[in-house]
Amino acid sequence: MILNKMILSVFVGLMVVSSVRADDQSSGCGLGWSVTKRNSLVSSWVRSMTNVTGSNTIAMTSGTSGCAKHDIVMKKSEAIHYAEANYQKLLSEVAIGSGEHLSSFVAILGCTGDASSLAAAALQKNYETLFPANQSSPSQLLEASSRTIYGSELAERCNSLNNG
């Protein structure tokens, strides 16, 4: 069992490292990945008038933006994609200890049912140390969350990544 946990932790660690690299290379899956900021009036006009798709369509088809070639986020990238898109919301919900975005996030990390609220509580409890002010980023959020979940007794309950 301990060996399993170690293997899982190594896997998550590798995934996070590769995600960081992926994070540097692309802005995410498809159009709207950078919509965490509201668009300016003109660009918003463009989008509402036409619901613009730019070159993302092509990028997505060739699978270069972190998506599978069918527009579907690849399973192994889902956690980092999700953390990137919902970063602000996740930080707040982790601090509160509950919320819809957080539930989906811990589900991606394998925690569903009772394990979901236990994982949320564990993250909230260690918020300040898990998410230090000067190292804040989506990949860091994922890495710290994975470390907390898989490095504790929760690993048994959240035992398969992406099973949500």
Partner: protein, 646 residues
């Protein structure tokens, strides 16, 4: 002799064999012809069926709406001839890939039978049989999505920004895990080149000069985009389709996503049009799911139309409130003392957060700062980031769990689109003037909402109308005149709330008629552009009593006008009282001044509208005109009218 006899006999035998062969061949040919003819008849019949035409996106038209240059057709004439497309489809589906070279379709280079899974399902239901083929790409797509049901999702318009005028619709593919943000969504969008020149997208979008495509994206991206970033409510209408129907739609989505290309037009063949068209493929016998007879497709109206004409298709309605609505809701639940604490905290979050122990106040402050973060469009605002960080650390040190109840579905006023009034209006008016002649008029208007309309189903603080025209006939004189001709009007009067100061604004473009009392047909008019800006105070909650004040300018363009008349400064004051959801009254005061302030004219009065049926309203208006800048007339005017929406 014997030889002769033998030869004769041989000849006879040949003739006999030949005859028998001929008979046999003839019979065999007849059999073939008969079966082919029945097969051909069947193919012709299927090619003309609603189901096949829907799959090719012909629907009720004689050609397909899919552009012929896209990969959607296996026959070169498939966009104009459903029979040729069916024949080509059957040919390529039946070909043996080991012995014959198959065309590879679309960007994923798929075998025809893998490129068109919905066509395959449809044809198999109609008795055709095809060799089993492995389609790993489509299988991966299907297994990743696995929708159990579909929801048609309406994103409300965004009144704080003129960009999001009409709202938007998309389809959510609901996976079995209820409420998961990890579901996927389908969207239809125009493809604008990344470096499009200036404002060219406006005429191009209106005239249909961009291609449009279906897109798929995680639903959380849509929630981020609409709910969070633009603070727009989402209304999710679950659709009552069976699992088999959803699976068939998914097969068709695969065809649309990779192979189709449409012409996008902003007003007509837009996102909502294509969402509904894609659904028509499921039950083509129902006919179109779109409103009939419009020259435009408005997203909210497509939902309203679906609910009215096909109520059986609509299941549960789920409301997903915008970030702003959640914040307002949370604020409304605070006591006065908590509101004061919140204001105190927000004035200096970093230093004052240590004083706060109330989780409600902390969470309301977090909502507010997150909203600000979306507003200022910057990740790198150090002060804001630090404030958020301190608030989160503090909140994390307190017991877990959200302090607020979820936002309830708004009851009144509500922007639930299926409850809105119709987008077309015709009204009849009697106008009585004390000095001018009395008139009868007829008015026609398109649009989502106007200030004095009932609010149910719309954003009560947003008005948008287009092609608003009115013709009046004098009762006692032989005179007909155009009383109004506005191309476009929109305005927003979102009231100021605690910690939120939205601007009210308005704008209109149209022609204003000169009133020339002695001409029979007064069609002389001048072109006018109008702009206003100001504020609205909510004097009672929930839009019961609002006061709006707007300063503005009118630009009038006509050679007949004097220099003074070409530019006017304006003031509009309006107080609207909403007695009931279907009954409103307003006091108004409008003033205009010429550029040199030599002439100031004003009108003030009272108006009221009462919807005695869902789509029928009675209206009255009394106006005191103290000189118009163009008419040189003063006097009272009384107007009554009846409006029918549809």
């Amino acid at each position: 002799m014997n030889l002769m006899r033998t030869l004769k006999s041989f000849k006879m035998q040949i003739l006999l064999v030949g005859f028998l062969l001929f008979i046999n061949l003839k019979d065999s040919k007849a059999t073939v012809d008969l079966s082919q003819s029945s097969e051909n008849e069947k193919i012709i019949q299927i090619s003309q069926s609603k189901e096949w035409k829907a799959l090719l996106h012909y629907f009720e038209n004689s050609t397909s709406e899919v552009l012929r240059e896209s990969d959607f057709f296996l026959s070169p004439n498939g966009a104009e001839n459903p029979l040729l497309e069916l024949q080509a489809t059957l040919k390529f589906f039946s070909q043996n890939e080991n012995t014959e070279k198959l065309p590879l379709v679309g960007p994923l280079k798929l075998k025809p039978v893998c490129a068109f899974p919905a066509r395959k399902t449809f044809l198999e239901k109609n008795g055709f049989q095809f060799k089993k083929t492995s389609c790993p790409d489509f299988e991966a797509f299907k297994n990743s999505l696995q929708p159990e049901s579909l929801s048609l999702v309406f994103s409300t318009n965004y009144s704080g920004n003129p960009a999001s005028l009409f709202g938007h619709t998309l389809i959510r593919m609901n996976h079995s895990k209820e409420g998961s943000l990890r579901d996927y969504s389908v969207n239809f969008a125009a493809a604008v080149p990344p470096n499009e020149i200036g404002l060219r997208y406006i005429p191009y979008g209106l005239l249909g000069l961009y291609p449009g495509y279906f897109q798929i994206a995680p639903y959380y991206m849509k929630v981020l985009e609409y709910n969070e970033s633009e603070s727009r409510d989402l209304w999710e209408y679950q659709l009552n389709y069976s699992k088999e129907e959803v699976a068939f739609w998914l097969e068709h989505l695969w065809e649309l996503r990779w192979l189709s290309q449409f012409r996008y037009t902003f007003l007509m063949k837009n996102c909502s049009y294509q969402m509904n068209r894609s659904l028509e493929v499921i039950r083509p016998q129902l006919g179109t799911l779109l409103p009939v007879g419009n020259f435009y497709t408005l997203p909210g109206e497509t939902i309203r139309n679906l609910k009215q004409k096909h109520p059986d298709l609509i299941g549960e309605i789920h409301f997903r409130p915008s970030h702003k609505r959640i914040f307002n809701h949370e604020q409304s639940l605070l006591t006065n003392a908590e509101k004061n604490e919140l204001s105190h905290l927000l004035s200096d979050p970093v230093h004052r957060v240590s004083e706060v122990k109330n989780t409600k106040v902390l969470e309301a402050a977090l909502q507010h700062l997150e909203y600000q973060k979306y507003e200022i469009q910057s990740e790198a605002n150090e002060g804001l980031n630090q404030s958020l960080r301190e608030l989160r650390v503090k909140r994390a040190s307190l017991p877990p769990g959200q302090s607020f109840r979820p936002v309830p579905r708004p009851i009144d006023p509500t922007n639930q689109p299926d409850l809105a009034h119709g987008t077309r209006m015709v009204s009849f008016h009697s106008i009585f003037g004390s000095k001018d002649v009395s008139e009868l008029s007829i008015r026609a208007r398109a649009g989502i909402h106007e200030r004095m309309d009932r609010d149910k189903g719309t954003d009560p603080s947003f008005s948008i109308t287009f092609f608003d025209a009115e013709i009046a006939k004098a009762i006692e004189r032989n005179r007909l005149r155009v009383r109004r001709f506005e191309i476009f009007q929109m305005s927003s009067w979102d009231p100021i709330k605690d910690n939120e100061f939205p601007l009210s604004w308005g704008g209109a473009v149209g022609w204003v008629p000169f009133e020339e009392a002695n001409t029979f047909l007064a069609l002389h008019s001048f072109f006018k552009v109008k702009g206003q800006i100001g504020f609205t105070l909510g004097l009672l909650p929930n839009h019961f009593l609002n006061f709006t004040s707007l300063l503005g300018a009118d630009g009038n363009f006509d050679q007949k006008l004097s220099k003074n008349q070409k530019f006017l400064t304006t003031l509009e004051e309006r107080m609207i009282l909403r007695w009931k959801p279907n009954f409103k009254s307003a006091l108004f005061f409008n003033a205009q001044s010429t550029a040199s302030y030599q002439r100031i004219s004003s009108q003030f009065g009272f108006e009221s509208s009462y919807f005695f049926k869902e789509e029928t309203a009675a209206k009255i208006r009394m106006t005191r005109i103290n000189q118009s800048p163009f008419l040189f007339v003063s006097g009272n005017q009384f107007e009554i009218g009846i409006s029918q929406f549809f």
